[in-house]
Structures are given as C-alpha cells and as structure tokens.
C-alpha cells in the first residue's frame, strides 16, 4: 500500500472525490468477475493487466475510496498506488494559458523535420 485512500481531496471539484490508481490482484476468474460485477474505470476501451505468476494477475483500475472499500468488502485484494487526482492537479500548469496562436495569426508547426528544417511548436 502506498497511499491512504481516506486522505483529503485534491483541489479541483471537491465533490467528485479523489481517484487512485489501484491494482486488483487475483486469478483470471476473480478479476473477470470484478469487471462484470462492479463499475470499474479501467482506462479507455479495455482492461490492462500484468501477470504476476501462472495463476495470478493484477488488473489496473482507477477507483475512489468508496469503490476501493466496496471491492475489499467483496473479498478482492486491492493495492492502492498513486493518487492520480493529485498528480493530475499538479500537472495543471502543463495546460496552455491564453492563446499562443493569437486567434489564428500565429501558425503552429509540427514536430517533423521538413527536409533539413527541424520542426517544433512555439
């Protein structure tokens, strides 16, 4: 266990609750059952997993504290890793502020190399 899911909320919209990166550990049957019994956020389109040994896998899931408790109450082994809400919040300054293209008067440039000219954005 790395994080305490009962920790305080990040900034942003506080009523949504923090989300943790978790690994649900178990047999393929157990993990399949979790995916079909619980509303789990496992990424964009399909589950991600890693194999621990012949019969044990870890399923990546993003879950809130109540969801983690619900899974544990149902007998699932849940390892709680990073608080992804907090991490994402810390990356807020990665989002551009203002308008670097000035309403269309500045042209973006890509990352490709055109002939002997190197690309790159602003």
């Amino acid at each position: 266990m790395v994080a305490n899911p009962a920790g305080s909320h990040s900034t942003g919209d506080p009523t949504l609750g923090d989300i943790y990166e978790t690994r649900i550990v178990g047999t393929p049957e157990k993990l399949d059952s979790a995916l079909r019994s619980f509303t789990l956020d496992v990424g964009c389109s399909h589950p991600h997993f890693e194999q621990i040994d012949d019969q044990t896998f870890a399923l990546l899931a993003f879950a809130t504290s109540p969801q983690i408790e619900e899974l544990r109450s149902a007998g699932y082994v849940v390892e709680v890793n990073e608080n992804v809400s907090r991490r994402a919040e810390s990356l807020k300054n990665e989002i551009g502020a203002g308008d670097r293209f000035d309403g269309g008067r500045v042209v973006p440039r890509g990352f490709g190399i055109k002939g002997d000219r190197r690309g790159g954005d602003l």
Partner: protein, 425 residues
C-alpha cells in the same frame, strides 16, 4: 504546453490562414451543450471548394480526437500532424519523424490525391472541463440531461459509446458479455451511452463529416492510453462464413460478445485482410520512429488475462465501418482506433507529448499514404464476390450457406496470387 481548447481552435484557424487553397476551416453544424462551436480542417488541393470537393470521387481520410476529455495530447497530435503535412507540401520536402521518412512524393500525393479531414477536438466541453479540473479524470461530455443532482459524476455522456453500432447493448449482447467498459445505461458510469444512439451533438458532428465528405474511406480515432492500433469488430469475434450473423440481425440478439459463443460478427475476408495489413502498416510506421511498438489488434480480441475478452458497443470506428452494411449506397470506411501513450496514464506532460506526437504522426501519415489511390486487384475481386453473394438465393448464403466457404477459399487463393503485384498497401 498542452493546447487548451481555445488554442486548438486558433491553431486550426492559423493553418487555414497560412495555407489558403490547401486547408479550409470547417465549422461543424452542432454546438455542444455548453454552446461551443466545433471545428475541423480539410486538407487537400482545391479544398476551399468544399461543395465541389464533397461530390468529388476522390479518396478521403478522417482523423478525430478529443472524444474523451481526460485523454490529453490527442488534439495536439492532430494539430501538429496537420501542420507538418501542410508545411512539408508547401516546401516540397520530405517529412521525417525519427527513423521514419515520408518522401516529398508521398507528401505531394497525399495532399493532391487525398482529402484529409482533421477534427482534433470532438468533445470540447469535456476537454475544457478536464483541463480546468484535472483531478476529476473527466471522460464524458458535459450534457446534464440524465444527471441526478446528488451525483456530479452522472453529468455527461461517453461520446465513444454513443455511435449507432449495437448501441442497444442490453438487447444485443449475451448477459455474460456485459462488463463495466462495454457501455452503460447508468448516467453515473463513465461509459454512459446516452439516451439514444447519436443523442449527442459531438457524435452527430462526426457523422456529419462522413455524410458531407463521401470520399472518406479511412477513419482513425485517437484515444489514450496503452499503445495499440485497433480495428473492428468490437462486439465479437470476426467470422467469414455466415452472413446472417451480423449486427443488424435481431435474431442473434442476446448471443453476442462471448468468445467461442454461438455468434461471430460477419466480415468479408478481404476486409479483414485489409484491416490487418493497414493496422500493421500504421503500427510499423509508429515503431520506425523510435522503436515503440503499438500492437495491431481486433478491438474485441485485445489482450487480456486467460481467455477473457471484452466487447464494446457504440464505438466510433466500429460504426464508421458498419455504415456500408446498414446503408449499402454509402462508401465503405475502414475505421481504426489508436490508443497512444504506453505510460498508462491519461494526463501527459508536454515533454511526454514531444516524444509521443512524432510516433503517432508517422502512423497518421502512413494511414493517409495508404489512402492514395493505387492499382490493386483485390478491391475489384472483393466487389465481384460481394455482388455475387447479393444476387444468390438467400438459402445459399444464409444461414450457414455454402457461398461463404467458397468465398473464403477463393479469397485465400486470390490473396496468395495477387500479393506480389500489389503496391504499398
């Protein structure tokens, strides 16, 4: 820095301003719930004559991104890809991403013989919300129609579960196939699929582009994360033998979505061959940049533990490919998804984007290159086989008819004979 929603719009305007005659800004017809306009860019010589272009029987590619708010970087990749293509064409130079170079001739062919439509931010409300509230990990749009006041997560619809492909999942799928990522009728779920197929302006805007530009025959929808190139079908295994087993046939309702089950989604052998070859070509182009492997997979058969498979419904590129079966007059669109970023997180930094964008751009270039019309025998034979199937008595091909087996065997022989003569596809 990652582009905010206003910058995405300005970047598109900037490209249209800088390259008049090559790039035209398209205002999509549907405003979002929060009143935002959506924009796409049409790239191609003569592109400013949209009404003329729309009737032109040329080749076309549609690239979309930003369907899920939290998947940062997708819109940026689209913008930088479009900028690269236009600049390289204007300069008359090669275009290089790491270890992958597209010759000036390929760049010229794409711009002059293919109409590339780039729609970088399908869900601007969701993207804007995610940028303002990164901790929320927001996936859906911001339509509150089905929400309940006690649950803020019940706002919004998953745009990429709102397309009209086995949208009514409760009827279409076997109960054993249903899982939390397939789709949901619970507004509190991240996969809430809306009140009806195409209930959302965002998915209707994508549909409008395919209606407006009938020359489009390739479609790629950018998502994150994981590092895969995926292709239809997402609802079940592909099978070639039984035409009656298809998504329009309600007789198979309740049986879809389980591996080894009674149902398999029908696909022509040559379509599956093209999907596999194109997905591999895109994957190879991505890998050539700096060695990152984006494995090609059928969506339903994405790697999972044991023999488990996970079906999906209402997905954009499944729907795009399904259109020619529900509307035979429409052109077949080969739809793909790319799940970019192998670091297993939605929020990426600009430094990470600098690494990822060239790889994905190379994949997009390769897809556009594949759309350049070339002489190939396979599509001709495919049409002939399809035509014969349509005119044969139904008892021969459905259900469990003989024609499917004839077609499959003939296809394998044909593929062996014609492969050495086909170029670059």
């Amino acid at each position: 820095m990652i582009l905010n929603v206003g910058e995405i719009r300005s970047a598109l305007r900037g490209l249209a301003n800088q390259y008049p005659g090559l790039a035209t800004l398209i205002t999509l017809p549907e405003r979002t719930y929060e009143g935002q306009d959506s924009y796409a860019l049409l790239i191609g010589t003569g592109a400013s004559l949209i009404s003329t272009v729309a009737r032109c029987p040329a080749a076309g590619v549609l690239i979309t991104s930003g369907m899920h708010g939290r998947e940062w970087g997708g819109p940026d990749i689209c913008i930088y890809f479009a900028a690269d293509l236009l600049e390289a064409y204007t300069l008359g130079t090669d275009l290089t991403y790491g270890g992958k170079t597209f010759s000036a001739s390929v760049v010229r062919h794409i711009v002059e013989r293919v109409h590339v439509v780039v729609f970088p931010c399908v869900n601007p409300d969701g993207v804007r919300y995610s940028h303002a509230n990164p901790s929320a990990s927001w996936r859906k749009n911001r339509n509150p129609e089905s929400s309940v006041s006690t649950n803020l997560r019940s706002i919004g619809v998953d745009v990429c579960r709102n397309f009209d492909f086995v949208w009514d999942y409760r009827s279409a799928f076997a109960p054993a196939a249903i899982w939390s990522g397939l789709a949901s009728d619970d507004p509190g779920s991240d996969q809430f699929h809306g009140t009806a197929a195409f209930s959302e302006p965002e998915s209707r805007n994508v549909r409008w582009l395919l209606e407006q530009f009938p020359q489009i025959h390739r479609y790629l929808d950018l998502h994150s994360f994981s590092g895969f190139v995926v292709y239809p079908w997402g609802d079940d295994e592909i099978q070639f033998a039984d035409v009656s087993q298809n998504f329009t046939n309600s007789a198979w309702n309740g049986k879809r979505g389980t591996l080894g089950g009674p149902y398999g989604e029908f696909m022509l052998w040559c379509d599956r061959r093209d999907f596999r070859n194109l997905a591999r070509a895109v994957s190879d182009a991505i890998a050539a940049v700096r060695g990152t492997v984006y494995g090609p997979h059928q969506l339903f058969l994405m790697p999972a533990f044991g023999r488990a498979t996970y079906a999906t419904s209402g997905v954009s590129f499944d729907w795009a490919y399904s259109r020619h079966r529900t509307h035979p007059a429409k052109r077949m669109v080969r739809g793909f998804g790319v799940e970019f970023n192998k670091t297993l997180k939605f929020d990426i930094t600009y430094d990470e984007l600098v690494q990822i964008a060239p790889e994905v751009s190379a994949g997009l270039m390769r897809l556009c290159e594949s759309a350049v019309p070339v002489v190939s025998l396979a599509p001709i034979f495919c049409r002939v086989f399809g035509f014969i199937r349509e005119i044969l008595p139904r008892r021969l091909w459905s259900p469990y008819g003989r024609w499917g087996r004839v077609q499959q065997a003939a296809g394998a022989v044909l593929e062996f004979i014609t492969a050495p003569f086909e170029s670059r596809r």
